[in-house]
Symmetry: D2
């Protein structure tokens, strides 16, 4: 398919998406770090301060979650948004959080600097059209069973609405391999770079599904040319209700950042 607005043919130069003073898609890589889901104020702030100290430039954290089962914890909603707002106030870090309901875009947008479209919403065209009409940067995660072509078509929905601030995020695809939660499609990074001017970051946490594997994939993503990472970090991941097993500790994050910095320099980027 020919996706006009996201294509290199439409715009040859790399797009840089500003998020406050942070530039996503520039020479300097952007690391977005924080808990999968916001669960309490103290942990969130502690985590935010720690990832900031290690060099993260954006705080991530889930307020509204799309869970497979109705019995699973669905996020704290507005309460979580308030916690994120406080952490942002204290650290100055811009905040990325997911929006799942078309009726809550304004609500989420009051707190969030980046609206995240989750993997299960990538083909929710109602939601895509709506965020295409707002002014916020949008982090568009790849659907875990969608081709790169379908992903760029989803970006096209947002761009067609007039919102040019789209950041793509590879987070792993569903395959037959069962020793990891998903299979990270590392080739999607150079494929997207060749076809589109949009910045692309990688979420190493959801694909790995296991914190011991996150570092290797994070390093690989940067070596492959990603513009940054969206990574799950928590001060106490084993106490969390959602995805704790794949969340690295703030201590592990502090050790990982210099490694990422070294790889970034090896490929002509900085961190």
């Amino acid at each position: 398919m020919n996706h006009h607005l996201s294509s290199r043919e439409h715009k040859a130069q790399n797009s840089v998406v500003p998020v406050g003073e942070v530039q996503v898609g520039a020479r300097r890589l952007v690391i977005m770090a924080g808990p999968c889901t916001v669960e309490d104020e103290d942990s969130l702030l502690k985590t935010a301060l720690a990832v900031q100290a290690s060099g993260a430039q954006v705080l991530r954290g889930g307020a509204f979650k799309t869970r497979t089962s109705p019995d699973a914890f669905q996020g704290l909603g507005e309460t979580a948004l308030q916690m994120l707002a406080k952490a942002k106030e204290k650290t100055g870090l811009p905040v990325a959080t997911e929006v799942t309901d078309v009726r809550e875009i304004d609500l989420v947008g009051q707190c969030a600097d980046i609206l995240q479209i989750g993997s299960r919403s990538m083909q929710n065209t109602v939601l895509l059209k709506a965020v295409g009409r707002c002014g916020h940067p949008v982090l568009l995660k790849r659907g875990f069973a969608n081709t790169i072509d379908e992903w760029l078509a989803a970006a096209e929905y947002i761009l067609a609405g007039g919102n040019e601030r789209v950041i793509l995020c590879e987070r792993g695809i569903r395959t037959f391999e069962n020793s990891t939660r998903f299979s990270l499609d590392i080739l999607s990074v150079p494929v997207v770079k060749s076809r589109s001017h949009l910045p692309i970051i990688v979420d190493p946490s959801h694909a790995a599904g296991n914190r011991e594997l996150v570092g290797a994939v994070a390093r690989a993503a940067i070596a492959a040319g990603a513009d940054g990472l969206l990574i799950e970090v928590d001060c106490c991941p084993d106490a969390t209700k959602v995805d704790g097993r794949q969340t690295i500790t703030t201590g592990q994050f502090a050790e990982l950042m210099p490694q990422l910095c070294a790889v970034a320099q090896a490929v002509g980027r900085e961190l």
Copy 2:
């Protein structure tokens, strides 16, 4: 996972979902037929009368569509709903149509007898919760990349809201095979029957992606124990904007129905 409300443990007997005078899940199979997308009033009525004459008991037709690309035809929306209402009035056939936007459930529900949740919306939990609070039967299509377990979990969202009228619909999964549009997972029929009391029908059209293959899969679905079919039929499929290649003609449908009837009898059902 243990999905309480949809499980055989919760309810041993098969559920029968009433749609007007039609019973989905009873001994008599239910065939839902019609165009992929409603495009004009005359064709719709002509198709509706033809499928009714051949034995279809529900008219299907898309008004709001979730398309991969924003440049693709997105359905006629409210105009299509009005056309469906007219066809329903003239034929007496109950109508099944997709709802994609949580804000339009009431609007669609004024015309539709069955609210369809499309494959790309199966994990749109906002939409699932909302149709779980309405009184309409819900046709829940399997996500093309979702496991049977995730599908039953999606049904659980609807059941948990108090709406017991859930009909499952297998429509093919995404695999590496590239000679068909999707791979119809025929085993899902007996797996669902063993695990759940909910009725399950099969959509042979989307998986096949080619009208010459539809008949064989439709016969197979009934032989495997499905409670009915959701099938794309149009009086002039080659003139349609959406999925015409996989839509059988009203003439092919008239030939297919006696074959389906014979297979139904061979497995102790009727049509």
Copy 3:
């Protein structure tokens, strides 16, 4: 790809492969039944007599097995071939068994009436070329991760060697669905029928991985137009070392056959 020798363009009429007095691909369906792996003489004979009494026309049984792990039971080899020869002598049923080693084709061919190429050997071109030079009918199972196109290309290797007696066997493909062992690609039956003149049968046992699901898929395969079945049956499946869970009992087989007969008649075939 254009596979000349297997194509409808090369030969418009359906090929019928003779196996002794049995005709595979004719109006009458052929059921090949027996244990996954031959483990002892008494059970084999008891099973052979039972499936023959129920209407099976070919006895299947494994002598040489390709197992994932070297610690798994690898089959009884020549001893199993002798047991198959005795069962054949007593029942008159032709025998189908797998050949895995190019150096053992003559050995296996002395006992077997049909040489089976297993799923994991479908792209073993050394083996394909070798059976293409022998006079035996070859049962070519689809590789569990191979497209229909690659499957027909594998058949082409055998046909190109001068052996026209090729029977295709769909046995399920590897997908993300994890409630069944493999996903049976029911659409492969009409796709193969449209593209090739070769007969195609279906193995419902390996895909299901669970004997309670086998009947539904067997009925579906016949309704879809398959020319027969390769089905795992054993007098005491719970005592077997290999794949017992997916093997139906001779009692279940006796109940299944009249059902298959009814479906066969519904689609204009006989059994």
Copy 4:
């Protein structure tokens, strides 16, 4: 499954596989480069000299090929082995080449320093057992549709025969993504490292299927912790009969090596 001989439980320390004076699995990475298929003596020698000058330590090149279709070029066989032997004599580079036929192991072993088991042969247990009894290092490519568990089980066949010189090679898996030939499973590198003591290298060429994507994946593989690469390089890739589109030029290889060296140093390795 518990694969005893390949596991970290059996042997905690990383295995180093010697190939002449080259050590695979040591701190220094090993790059194996050369044409997909040996097609003529001059090109082979020219390519061998060029990759050696850029730092490759092993020459790769196919003599016996497993092709999907019998009409495709099947490799030059013995003639190619002689060409490889000459190139080895002139450059001193050890040679890696595939063996496909159990009857040709001795023949191939006379020329080859590393016997390669191709992706389509990974579950050819007859071949695995045979190379397990020879003294050559074995490069075991992952089957494109096999899990990591099945891959380690295949290694177990070789180890169980007494041959401890096994090198694993990730080369991409078959998924639904269709913009690349296969999807490189980058997570397999840290998963294998955590479970097994065997060295693992990565083939970036087959997964990419496009030479413009090879560099990014090669860098990513090293960043993820691979012990080396198996990479298709040719002095004139556009003139080759097999896989030319995914083969980088000797010029591109010369540019890539310093980049790989920088990434290697960033992750504590050398090249």
